[in-house]
């Protein structure tokens, strides 16, 4: 399979599919629903199934032996950029992050049966997965500890935590910080509290574990931090997409909005601001490309460095592009 062509095909497929389903309208209706009765309504289930199952996006990085396409993080990052471009509000990134963690788990001649099952259900059944990570300023686990074989504690603000069918969590255990799989049957026993907030493109929930079974899939500290790096990379990829979607919408608008008898897109101040956004999108995208390539070639050290730099750059440019979108739309942007 020629990866280059695939990546382009993936991008086009997702973009066309999401454009047909008007994600932005979905995000707006989620926001409206929340404003009338706080507590976020879930994403559109049918769009998720179409994306995950019909388009096979969830299966991208699942190894072929478990029903996936066996592609690397470059393909996944491309897919997430497209989803970000359309502000897709479903669990694509959370599922991709969990998938990356599962696919990276040490196999030793084939994955363990529970990991294999989890990967299969993601690839074939449209399962929603998520990855519970520690807060940015915390070393160690996500707030949950493994006590014997039972999980206790609260994982806060887990992306799509209320809808997740299965979870991979970074957990404190007696063997140190580990990756723990919480399979569907176990996850049903967790108490889930949906979180409100102002991010209508991702639903969050606190997951409260009070003696829920979980199994360690890796206790290797390097493996744990590799998984966290991949999650940063995937978040960065999505943010680059968000930034580029914001720029595209801005360009569309300033090419038609007229003031002082001419389109405002003709003003040098606006042109230069858009050019600056474009430069920084390309810089962040280049760092994402670099990190993804390192992940594929197994260069975890380069990945570690470039994933965090990519994330920082992508965060900044997504804010810059979004702010530019609001400003250049004038009053209607706000």
């Amino acid at each position: 399979m020629d990866l280059e062509i695939s990546t382009d095909e993936i991008r086009r497929g997702i973009r066309d599919y999401l454009a047909d389903h008007d994600c932005l309208a979905d995000v707006r209706s989620i926001a409206d629903a929340d404003r009338s009765a706080p507590g976020r309504r879930p994403f559109d289930e049918a769009v998720w199934r179409g994306l995950a199952e019909d388009l096979g996006v969830a299966a991208l990085s699942v190894p072929e032996e478990y029903g996936g396409l066996g592609l690397g993080l470059r393909a996944v990052a491309s897919a997430l950029s497209e989803a970000g471009h359309e502000l897709y509000p479903g669990p694509l990134r959370s599922t991709a992050s969990a998938t990356a963690a599962l696919a990276a788990a040490p196999t030793g001649g084939g994955a363990r049966p529970d990991v294999a099952d989890a990967l299969r259900t993601i690839a074939s059944d449209g399962a929603v997965a998520s990855l519970a990570v520690p807060a940015a300023d915390v070393r160690g686990g996500c707030g949950v500890t493994l006590d014997g074989e039972l999980l206790r504690g609260t994982a806060r603000a887990v992306p799509h935590g209320a809808s997740a069918d299965l979870l991979v969590a970074v957990v404190d255990t007696s063997a140190g910080t580990s990756l723990v799989l919480v399979p569907p049957t176990a996850l049903e026993q967790a108490i889930r509290r949906s979180r409100g907030g102002i991010d209508f493109s991702t639903a969050y929930a606190d997951l409260i574990f009070d003696g829920v079974p979980g199994t360690v899939i890796s206790a290797d500290p390097q493996q744990v931090s590799h998984v966290l790096d991949m999650a940063q990379l995937l978040a960065a990829a999505e943010q680059v997409g968000v930034a580029s979607g914001a720029l595209d919408r801005t360009l569309d608008y300033i090419k038609i909005r007229e003031q002082f008898g001419r389109v405002v897109g003709g003003y040098q101040a606006l042109q230069h601001r858009c050019a600056n956004v474009a430069v920084h999108i390309e810089a962040a995208a280049a760092l994402v490309e670099r990190a993804a390539a390192a992940a594929e070639s197994g260069d975890t050290e380069v990945l570690a460095r470039s994933a965090l730099l990519a994330r920082a750059a992508a965060s900044e440019v997504s804010l810059f592009a979004a702010d530019t979108m609001v400003q250049l739309h004038g009053g209607i942007g706000f």
């Binding site: 907030g197 969050y204 007229e258 002082f260 008898g261 606006l270």
Partner: protein, 403 residues
Amino acid sequence: MTTGAPDRDDDVAAVLGEDLDRIRETLSALETRFATSAAVAEPDHRVGLMEESGPGELDVLARARQLQRALFQAGLAWPQGPVEFGGGGRSKEWSLALDRVLDEYDLPSRAQLLVGLHIVAPAIASHGSADIQRRYLPALFRGEVVGCQLFSEPSSGSDLASARTSARRDGDDWIVSGQKVWTSGGHIADIGELLARTDPLAGKHAGLSMFVVGMKTPGVTVRPLRQMTGGAAFSEVFLDDVRVPDANRIGEFGAGWSVARTSLSSEREAMMSGLGPLSPHILSRLHALVASGDRCSDPVIAQQVAQVTANVLAGHALAARKPADWGRLGNVAGSVSKLLLVETVDLIGHLIADLCGPRVFLDEDETFLWSEFVLGAPSLHIAGGTDEIQRNVIAQRGLGLPR
């Protein structure tokens, strides 16, 4: 008294002289009077940049009106106003010194009155007839009448002078039709300052006149606009054959643009003072937020706090500057102050986001209270004229670069 307010010079005493004791006495009494009802009336502790419509809104407005009336009676509501209309007949310096003293007291917010007092009133005071001044100025400053601004239109944002809302003469009246937008407080206002095209054949600017229109007049429809913060501080206003007497014209026929510029420049100057978004109240809560977190000793945060502090102090110092000290920038002082203000608000927004992390966008106790501030910041770049317009104004009218 609030704590953690920005430092202030002590030459307030020199300017206010023997009035100072009486002023402090009055304000202390008002602080006590309003403190008793505060717990009831303040809907929540959210920190926003705009007054937004919501459940407690009318209570807040009622308290603002009461305070305004009390200040008027004490001669503290309209220091620079002419004595014959109930103003104080004081100098700008005296008025600025009074503002500093007012900042020290924890009084109810008068934010909902600001458009009337700092946008509408200056226009009437500078351009209006004696009759229209008598009818509206005392009422605005007594808190009896709440004003709003009817300038922007869907197709006239930065290019305000292209306004299309038409006013055609009919006897002693004008018949007004059109649509206005981004009207802050449109739904609570009693009167609006209306920019309309009275002569479609005259030039772009010369075809405009300015009016006072009653917001309850038949044909006026106000529709609140949902905004990014989730709230609604702005409205659309539809004008459908609204009858406005010619006696409500502010300034000469065809002088609407000049009247609008008075309002806009007054608005910009008010924004950077303690009356604007960076009230002593917000600043003291910001200091508390910084001090409460475990990152107040983080050097990266410290750099940001220092930058914010410098900007706020500079803004206050500029607001207190004598016109002569502005040099060639005297006629664009409002634009300079406004750009500094929005830069400061952005810096604060970034500081808050860095301090709170994800807790600023999740429904977390305490930190989520700042989400409205962070989300509201972008609007200040647009309201009162975009950054681009301010920079054009500074470059062309201040620095003498070609138009």
